[in-house]
C-alpha cells in the first residue's frame, strides 16, 4: 500500500511539472474541441491529433494524448446533450435523456452531472489502474513467448466477440490487419516482404496512415454521402449550470453503479467504453422504480452512462500499460504513438520507465479535474462551434489531416497511402466491415509474429507447445470457447439485439 502511495506520489510529481500540466490542459482542450464536432469519432480525433504530439518529449506526448482521449469523450457528451447527435459512439445513450433535459431548459445540470460523474469515475478508475498495475505486471513478467502469443490471440478474439457486426467478418478484418503489418522488412532477416519493390514500402505501412485513412478520411467521405441532417441545437441560453440538491441525490447512486460497471467492462478488450455506457443505461432503467421516466429527461440516464464510459476509457489503459496489449482501437493508437517515441508498451514500461508509467496515471486524474474545470465555463464556445456548418468543417479536417500525415516523415507518399486507405475504409463501410479490428490486428501483428516465431523456435518446431504450457493452454482454450459461443446462433441473435438496442 505504501509502495502504491509512493509510486502515485512520484507520478504526481511528474504530472504536476508545469509543462506536463500544460500538455494535459492542451490535450483535454483540443480533444474536447474536436470531440464536440459531430461525425468525428474518438479514434478519428486521436488519429488526427497524433502528429501534433510527435515533437514533444515522450512523457508529455503521452499525457497529452491521454488528455485528448478524455477530452474527446467528454466533448462527445456535450454534443449529445445539446444537439441530439452523438459526438462519439460512447455517448449515443446520453442523447436519450440528456437532450430531453436540454429541451426542458436543463442543459446546464445535464452537462455538469456528466462532468461530475465522469470526474468521480475517473478518480476511481485512476486508483484502480494504479492498484492493478503492479500485480498484473508481475504476472506478465512470467510470460514466455508462447503465453504472449496466446494472450494476444485471446485479446483479439475478445475484441472480435465484443465488437458489433458479424464475428466472421471481424476475424477476417483482424487477419487483414495482421497481413498488412507484415508488409515491409522482415524483423529477423531483413528480407523485404510483399513490398512489390516499392522503396517507400520497405519500412512497412505507416500506422498513422492507416488510422487516418480508415478512421479520418473514410468517415468524412461517408458523411458527405449522407443527406445533410437538420441540427436541432438548443438555442435557449443555458442558465444555471449547477445541478440542485435533488439532482445530486438522484444521480449519486447512478454514478457509483456506472463507475463500477464501466471499470469492469473497460478492462475487457473490445468496445470497452461503448458497451459500458449501454450496459449502465440499461441497468439503471431496469432497477429504476419508475422506468418510464427514462427517455424523458431522467438525470440518472445521463449520470450512469457518462460515468461508465469514462471509467471504461480509463481502465482500458490497464491491459495496455501492464501487458502491452491494446484492448481497443484507441489503445491501438496509443501503442502506435508509444512506438514512435521508442517505447515498447508492456510490463517493462513500469520497471524501466516508472516516471512515464506513474506520471501518465497521475495525469489521468489531473486531466479529469481539468475537464470539470475548463469545460463547464466553455459550454458557450462549444455551442458556437456546433453552428459551423459541415460544408466548411470537412475541408478543414481534410487539410489538417493531410498536413499531419505529411509532417510525420515529410513524405508525400504517406499522404497518398492515407488517401488509399480512405478509399479502402469507405469500401469497408459499404460492405459492413469494421475498421477497428483491422487496426488492432495491424498493431499487434509484429508482436504476434515475433512471439510466434520465438515460441516455435524454443519448442524446436513443435506447434503443440501452445497447448502443453498451462497458462498458454488456458488462454487459447478460452479464446476458442469464446469464438464458438459467439458463433452459436442463439447467442448471436441476443448479441445483435444488444447492439441494436
Amino acid at each position: 500500500m505504501s509502495e502504491l502511495l509512493a509510486n502515485l506520489w512520484m507520478g504526481f510529481h511528474v504530472a504536476a511539472n508545469p509543462f506536463n500540466v500544460l500538455f494535459c490542459l492542451l490535450g483535454a482542450l483540443v480533444g474536447t474541441l474536436v470531440g464536440v464536432l459531430p461525425g468525428i469519432g474518438t479514434v478519428a480525433t486521436i488519429a488526427m491529433l497524433l502528429p501534433i504530439t510527435f515533437g514533444l518529449p515522450p512523457v508529455g506526448a503521452l499525457i497529452m494524448l491521454a488528455g485528448i482521449y478524455y477530452g474527446a469523450q467528454y466533448g462527445g457528451s456535450t454534443t449529445s446533450v445539446l444537439v441530439n447527435i452523438p459526438g462519439e459512439a460512447t455517448s449515443v445513450v446520453t442523447c436519450l435523456d440528456g437532450h430531453q433535459m436540454a429541451r426542458q431548459g436543463r442543459a446546464g445540470p445535464a452537462l455538469s452531472i456528466a462532468a461530475i460523474g465522469s470526474f468521480f469515475a475517473g478518480c476511481v478508475a485512476t486508483v484502480l489502474v494504479a492498484a492493478l498495475g503492479t500485480p498484473l505486471t508481475s504476472i506478465a513478467l512470467l510470460f514466455g513467448p508462447a503465453e504472449y502469443f496466446s494472450l494476444m490471440a485471446l485479446g483479439l478474439i475478445f475484441a472480435v466477440v465484443l465488437a458489433k457486426g458479424s464475428v466472421l467478418k471481424a476475424v477476417a478484418m483482424v487477419l487483414t490487419g495482421l497481413l498488412l503489418s507484415m508488409v515491409g522488412s522482415d524483423l529477423e532477416t531483413g528480407a523485404g516482404r510483399m513490398t512489390f519493390d516499392i522503396a517507400e514500402l520497405a519500412d512497412g505501412i505507416g500506422f498513422t496512415n492507416i488510422a487516418m485513412g480508415v478512421f479520418g478520411f473514410a468517415e468524412i467521405i461517408r458523411n458527405l454521402e449522407l443527406p445533410a441532417e437538420s441540427r436541432d441545437i438548443v438555442s435557449a441560453k443555458i442558465t444555471g449550470l449547477m445541478p440542485n440538491r435533488k439532482d445530486l441525490i438522484d444521480s449519486a447512486g447512478a454514478i457509483a453503479r456506472g463507475t463500477i460497471l464501466g471499470s469492469i467492462l473497460g478492462i475487457l478488450p473490445g468496445g470497452g467504453a461503448v458497451i459500458a455506457s449501454f450496459a449502465a443505461y440499461t441497468f439503471e432503467k431496469r432497477i429504476a422504480k419508475d422506468p418510464s421516466r427514462f427517455g424523458r429527461g431522467a438525470i440518472e440516464g445521463v449520470a450512469a452512462p457518462e460515468s461508465a464510459n469514462n471509467a471504461a476509457a480509463q481502465t482500458s489503459f490497464i491491459p495496455l500499460l501492464t501487458l502491452g496489449i491494446p484492448p481497443n482501437a484507441v489503445m491501438a493508437l496509443m501503442v502506435g504513438a508509444m512506438t514512435i517515441h521508442g517505447i515498447v508498451p508492456g510490463p517493462q514500461v513500469m520497471t524501466k520507465q516508472p516516471e512515464l508509467f506513474w506520471g501518465m496515471i497521475a495525469s489521468m486524474w489531473i486531466g479529469n479535474l481539468m475537464l470539470v474545470v475548463i469545460n463547464l465555463p466553455l459550454v458557450g464556445v462549444w455551442v458556437t462551434l456546433l453552428r459551423v456548418p459541415y460544408r466548411l468543417l470537412y475541408p478543414s479536417i481534410i487539410v489538417f489531416c493531410c498536413i499531419g500525415v505529411y509532417s510525420i516523415n515529410n513524405s508525400p507518399t504517406d499522404v497518398v497511402i492515407a488517401a488509399l486507405f480512405g478509399v479502402i475504409g469507405f469500401w469497408l463501410i459499404k460492405h459492413d466491415f469494421e475498421g477497428a479490428p483491422m487496426l488492432l490486428g495491424f498493431v499487434l501483428g509484429p508482436l504476434m509474429e515475433e512471439n510466434l516465431r520465438r515460441a516455435m523456435l524454443i519448442a524446436r518446431g513443435d506447434a503443440t507447445v501452445f497447448f502443453t504450457r498451462p497458462i498458454s493452454a488456458v488462454l487459447l482454450t478460452t479464446a476458442i470457447v469464446l469464438l464458438i459461443i459467439a458463433g452459436l446462433p442463439k447467442i448471436r441473435r441476443r448479441r445483435d439485439e444488444v447492439f441494436v438496442e
Binding site: 515533437g55 478520411f217 468524412i220 466548411l392 518446431g461
Partner: protein
Amino acid sequence: MSEGVTPSPKGTGWGFQVNSHNLLGGLVLAVVALAMLAFGFYLPNTVVPRLMAGVVTLIGIGVAIGWVPVHGPRDFYGGMALVLLSILALTASAELPGQRGFAFGPGTAPRLFSIALAAMGAAVALGGVFVEGPPIEKYKIRGPALVILSILSFAVMIRGFNVTIFGIPLYMPALGLIPSTFFAFIISIFGSTEMRWVESLIAAAAMTAFCVLLFVYLLNLPFQLWPRFY
C-alpha cells in the same frame, strides 16, 4: 445494419439468369482474378495462388452468367475481395524463404495468415451466396472523388514532382505549405453540393492561417511556406 433486409432483386433459382448488377460484379471479379493469375505466372513458386485465382475467375464467370446465385451481394463481394487480397499476398510472398529446420522463415507467417484470410473471406462470401442480405449501397461519386482528389493534390503540391513519363519530362516545383493547404481546401469543398464562393474563400484562408500558425510556429515543424523555383 439497421435498415432492414430487402430481398435481393435477382431470381433465386439456378440457371442462366443474366442480371445486369451481377453481370458487372461477376465480370469485375473474373477480370481481377485473371490479372492476378497472369501476375502469378511471372513469379516462380506460385502454384497455390494461381490455382486460387483460377477458381475465383471461374466463380466470377459463374456469377456473371447467373450460375452462382448471389443473395447477399454485400457479403459476397466483400468476402471475395478478401480472397483476392490473400491471393495477392500469397503471390507477393511466394519468393520469400519458408520454414528452415525449426525456424520460421520470413515467408512462413505471411503465407499462414494469407491462407487463414482466404478461408475467412471464402466463408463470408459463401454466406453471401446462401443467406439473403442487403444490396450494395450505391456509391455517390462527386463527394468522395473530390475529397480524394484534394488529398492527392496536396501530396503533389507540397513537394512538387519531377518525373519522366513515356519520355516526356514533367516538372512542377514544390508549392509549399500555404498554397497547398489553400488549394486542397478549395478542391475538397467542391465535394459538397452547398458550396458558396465567398464563404469558402474566407474559410480556406482562415484554415491556412491556422495551420501555418499551429504547425510552423507552435510546433516548429520544418515546412517550406511558399513556392520555391529552382
